[in-house]
């Protein structure tokens, strides 16, 4: 029964599982929305969902197209402003942040600005948006992205959003809020955290059917591979049903 799940459903399920009830999460467009909505409809009914355009504590009815969509303040406790929610983040009220990226480096720094040179772009991407803010302020940042050798790189083309910068203590030295930073990375291949001492990315679990060799073959930098590596749990039919309700048109989950 479980073998029918799609990679996107698995990603959404694993991401949702990282969010705790009674905590707050800053949510970006796409998969992060799905994950937060799934968490709210399963194990975390009191998850406080916050959107950068001002939606606070909504009961999101269906997947929004935008982080400023009316769905982001549907049955919310407040329809506020960017100043309100960004200030809440800067003051320490936001536990989790959810981000995507085009490139990530071993320290969890992210690029969403440009592929190639900044003044002569090969591909111009949208830029920081709220990503730099979320990566700067949230206590724990979760990154959801595709993994391959062009995306898992030793050196970013552009450092849009801070991870651990160049290692232990670097965030604090730069003036970023103490004790914050990347928490987990989720890809189509596995789940990662960051080594406490080096602040470099470390494999935590592989997805079902994925080997450690697959993991290493799809990273251009050396990942920390511990002796014990777990396997993620696939989504149940019940979870998959909820995901269809959240995204009835298949915008993110697919048909």
């Amino acid at each position: 029964m479980n073998e029918d799940y799609t990679p996107t459903e698995l990603l959404a399920y694993v991401a949702a599982g990282l969010l705790e009830d009674g905590k707050s999460v800053f949510v970006g467009t796409g998969l992060p929305m799905i994950a937060a909505m799934l968490a709210q409809r399963t194990h975390a009914p009191n998850l406080l969902i916050i959107f950068e355009a001002g939606g606070i504590g909504p009961q999101v009815p269906v997947l929004p197209i935008s982080v400023g969509d009316s769905r982001t303040f549907y049955r919310a406790v407040a329809a506020s402003s960017m100043h309100e929610v960004m200030s809440a983040g800067q003051a320490g009220y936001v536990d989790y942040g959810f981000l995507g990226a085009a490139q990530i480096d071993p320290y969890g720094n992210l690029n969403t600005t440009v592929i190639g040179e900044w003044d002569h772009p090969l591909v111009r991407l949208p830029g920081s948006g709220g990503a730099n803010d979320i990566g700067s302020f949230c206590w724990r940042t979760i990154i959801v992205m595709r993994q391959d050798k062009r995306r898992f790189v030793e050196h970013l083309d552009f450092l849009t959003t801070p991870g651990y910068l160049d290692g232990p203590g670097a965030r604090e030295r730069a003036g970023l809020p103490a004790g914050s930073g990347p928490y987990r990375v989720i890809t189509q291949l596995g789940l990662y955290d960051f080594d406490e001492d080096s602040k470099r990315m470390r494999l935590l679990a592989t997805h079902p059917g994925v080997t450690v060799d697959d993991i290493c073959a799809n990273s251009a930098f050396e990942l920390i591979i511990p002796d014990q590596v777990g396997t993620t749990e696939p989504p149940s039919p019940q979870v998959r049903r909820i995901l269809r309700e959240i995204d009835p048109t298949g915008m993110v989950i697919g048909k």
Binding site: V67, G68, L122, R124, S128
Partner: protein, 339 residues
């Protein structure tokens, strides 16, 4: 005081606070005056070629598309755009050749719909120049500094990143905590276009739903053009003054423009017109296609009312109202192409 780091991005929209105070004293009327006008007049008067412009709302939420189409219709040129979450607004302005410089928090993308073909082509070919990078919170706080009449505002965003290195911010040691802190310069756009739910003829505005950064942006603007779903009696404003997001003395022009945010979303009124945005995304894959779009929807129509007929009139707008209120399913052609 030592400057620890200076961002290399171009500083746009900054004024010395005393210079700005003097400008306000000379140019912003405190009199309760009827500011109703036409879009043709407002754009002709307040949007000179070369101006720094910004849009209220959120790129494709509550954007004054009626004002944007008029800017394109009047062939305005060499505009610099504040890309503070710029989506459909900047995409069409760049594609039409009106905007050739942009400071970017978010641009060249359409969120879930993917990247913007037209403005990406313009920036990758050099037709549109990115003058600086910033973050969403950073831009919004640049407007907050301006709204407060300050030269800059301290924040803890962008530190340690290339975003800061390519911004117009500076980093100093905070004299209180001793930690590095980013100083964001105030940004006063020359003109801001904003679409609201209702206002009176003087420009006292109410907005339903999220304000996004319109509180700050309205106060940072030198010239503020308001398009509104409806013009209401002054008495309605005065009976609930706590609902006023923007008081009249900030406003330069008021234009009644029902559905003036189409095809972007107007909270509690109408959802995104995904068929129309989809048509734009499809046509704008080539310069010829973009030109065809502007010919059909901007140049060959007299005004916004004629445009609304062209996009499907009453029936279409009623469907968008139903989608906004979760009473009809969403149709989106770009969804089919994505699969």
């Amino acid at each position: 005081m030592d400057i620890l780091q200076t961002g290399q991005g171009e500083l746009i929209g900054w004024h010395d606070p005393d210079e700005h105070r003097a400008w306000v004293a000379a140019h912003k009327s405190r009199a309760l005056e009827d500011k109703r006008t036409t879009l043709r007049e407002a754009i002709a008067r307040y949007v000179p070629d070369g101006a720094i412009i910004a849009c209220g709302g959120f790129g494709h939420i509550r954007v004054s598309m009626a004002a944007i189409y008029e800017i394109i219709r009047q062939h305005k040129r060499d505009l610099t755009f504040c890309g503070k979450t710029a989506v459909h607004d900047s995409d069409v302005l760049i594609a039409a050749g009106a905007v050739c410089r942009i400071e970017v928090a978010y641009a060249f993308g359409h969120e879930l719909r993917g990247l913007s073909p037209a403005s990406r082509r313009a920036v990758e070919s050099g037709r549109c120049q990115v003058v600086a990078e910033i973050s969403n919170a950073g831009y919004q706080w640049r407007f907050l500094a301006a709204a407060m009449g300050l030269p800059f505002i301290p924040t803890r965003v962008m530190l340690g990143t290339d975003t800061l290195a390519h911004s117009s911010a500076k980093v100093i040691e905070d004299p209180f905590s001793g930690k590095p802190i980013a100083l964001l310069p105030a940004c006063y756009p020359d003109v801001v276009l904003m679409h609201v739910h209702r206002c009176d003829k003087y420009g006292n505005c109410q907005v339903d739903g999220i304000a996004v950064e319109d509180f700050e942006l309205a106060r940072a603007a030198r010239r503020l053009i308001i398009t509104t779903e409806e013009i209401v009696d002054e008495e309605m404003i005065r009976s609930q003054p706590w609902r006023t997001l923007i008081p009249y003395y900030l406003v330069d022009a008021v234009i009644e423009a029902p559905y003036g945010a189409h095809p972007t979303l107007m909270p509690d009124r109408y959802y995104f017109d995904e068929d129309h945005i989809g048509e734009w995304l499809r046509l704008s894959k080539t310069d010829e296609g973009a030109a065809e779009y502007f010919e059909r929807y901007v140049y060959s129509v007299e005004d916004f009312a004629e445009y609304l007929e062209l996009i499907g009139g009453e029936e279409r707008l009623e469907y968008l109202r139903q989608v906004e209120h979760l009473e009809a399913p969403l149709r989106a052609p770009w969804l089919e192409e994505k699969k």
